[in-house]
Symmetry: C2
Subunit: 107 residues, 2 copies
């Protein structure tokens, strides 16, 4: 994202979302800010994210459920959660009724 | 913010906001994530932020106007803007009608 160009995170949603959309907003060697758009998507069976960076993730719109190996957490608009590096997790569910817009910060 | 404790950015707003509230959510040597709560607040006359880090800032709720030396930008819910280090800016206005909740990432 260039400096000083205003952008609305709820805008420019594609009409069809056959696959989850990952858009990098800011990237440096130490941090990546991403917008993610889901609509009923979930991680494939048996797939776990196992990341080298910590991740702080916020749901801006919609609803989702993140699954860890020992528990799951429901997230709605405004909910955020901090996930440690190498803490295995997956997206177990996102609502099919509307887009779920996530802001993810990998740091 | 501890790992895996869900938190809602729209919750836990104080009833009175005599001064702008700055809450650090995540802090490392390279990145700081902050929630800022304003209600009609603006930067003092003649004050300019002049920061060592780049800042990506998002308005989650409310309305605000950021002023640069040569222009100003209005922000509503979902609007984000990327501000380079040492680009002088100030908060010229936030709506007095409701809280403005910002998410700021210094990186």
């Amino acid at each position: 994202m260039t400096f000083e160009s205003k952008f609305n995170l709820f805008d420019n949603l594609p009409g069809e979302i056959p696959k989850e959309i990952f858009q990098t907003i800011v990237q440096t060697p130490h941090v990546r800010i991403e917008r993610i758009i889901s609509k009923g998507h979930r991680s494939e069976d048996g797939f776990w994210y196992d990341q080298d960076q910590d991740e702080w993730v916020l749901v801006l719109k919609g609803k989702a459920r993140i699954e860890f190996e020992d528990k799951s957490v429901e997230l709605g608009a405004g909910d955020c959660i901090n996930i440690a590096a190498h803490r295995k997790h997956r997206v177990a569910w996102t609502t099919p009724d509307e887009e779920t817009i996530w802001l993810a910060i990998f740091y």
